[in-house]
């Protein structure tokens, strides 16, 4: 059956230029898929709003309570704050792009910034080692990896992007 895509624009709660679209496949069965796309300026005040948008879609797709209350919000907050504070250097003139695709099998969320990116393999120090427990920083990437099934850097023409995948339990 030929599939079609319907895009529905909704008023987005973000005050800056932003857009959110929901794309649904024609099939309402297992191929049902929702897409959220938002651009936000580099300001940590926007994090909670974006997290709520993505959480809501995961709820619709019947992700577990723990995934909705812990995995998704914490890992996404980490990715967003990393993009805002490190990637874009907290510069409100620079944007962070978020694209989340959710279906009944998994969430794939991409967070892109205008920075140069970093090497995931080189960026990790084990924050659970006794000598690191008293450090204030260094738990962000660790939590992303622990709370998501996959975390990867994606090559993009401009800036950098992290892609996280969480399989529905």
């Amino acid at each position: 059956m030929e599939r079609f895509r319907r895009t529905a624009s909704r008023r987005c709660p973000l005050s800056y230029h932003s857009r959110m679209s929901t794309a649904l496949d024609g099939e309402q069965s297992r191929d049902d898929r929702r897409v959220v796309e938002v651009d936000i300026p580099s300001d940590v005040a926007f994090i909670e709003t974006v997290v709520e948008l993505v959480r809501r879609e995961c709820q619709v797709m019947a992700f577990t309570r723990r995934q909705i209350m812990l995995n998704v919000p914490v890992a996404l907050t980490e990715a967003l704050s990393n993009a805002i504070l490190r990637g874009n250097g907290d510069d409100p003139a620079k944007n962070v792009h978020v694209r989340a695709e959710v279906d009944t099998r998994r969430l794939i969320v991409e967070v892109g910034d205008e920075g140069v990116g970093f090497d995931l393999d080189m960026s990790e120090r084990d924050p659970t080692k006794p000598e690191n427990l008293n450090r204030e920083d260094g738990r962000g990437l660790y939590l992303m990896r622990k709370l998501m099934d996959r975390v990867e850097m994606v090559e993009v023409p401009r800036g950098s992007m992290v892609r996280m995948t969480l399989n529905r339990e």
């Binding site: 940590v44 909670e48 812990l70 924050p127 427990l133 204030e136 962000g140």
Partner: protein
């Protein structure tokens, strides 16, 4: 999201309402530091009304714990729900903090 501060005997009790994340962690830190400036030494942070905590929020708790200890004080945490407990276990911060199941138990432990 907000932080409310009450006194229970000699203990300063901070309720974290909503999230403790990168956007508001400094507010919590400042509130506790202000109380320390006044000479307070015993602190209890109650998470019964908390949604989620990110790495910045955890970092602020670590920082406050150190500062309170350095001034001869004590910090206790209470009322972590199962998700928050998992977060502390994943980061092994459950070994760094004294965590009580209830506010009363935490208050009695000082």
């Amino acid at each position: 999201m907000s932080f409310s501060i009450k006194r229970e005997g000699e203990v300063v009790v901070v309720d974290v309402e909503g999230q403790l994340i990168v956007g508001n962690r400094q507010e919590l830190k400042q509130k506790v530091l202000d109380e320390m400036e006044k000479g307070e030494k015993k602190f209890l942070i109650d998470f019964s009304q908390t949604g989620y905590i990110d790495s910045s929020g955890l970092g602020v708790l670590v920082s406050l714990s150190k500062k309170i200890r350095e001034q001869g004080g004590e910090l206790r945490l209470a009322n972590l729900n199962d998700d928050l407990k998992t977060l502390f276990e994943l980061t092994k911060l459950d070994t760094l903090f004294q965590i009580a199941d209830t506010r009363n138990r935490a208050l009695q432990s000082f």
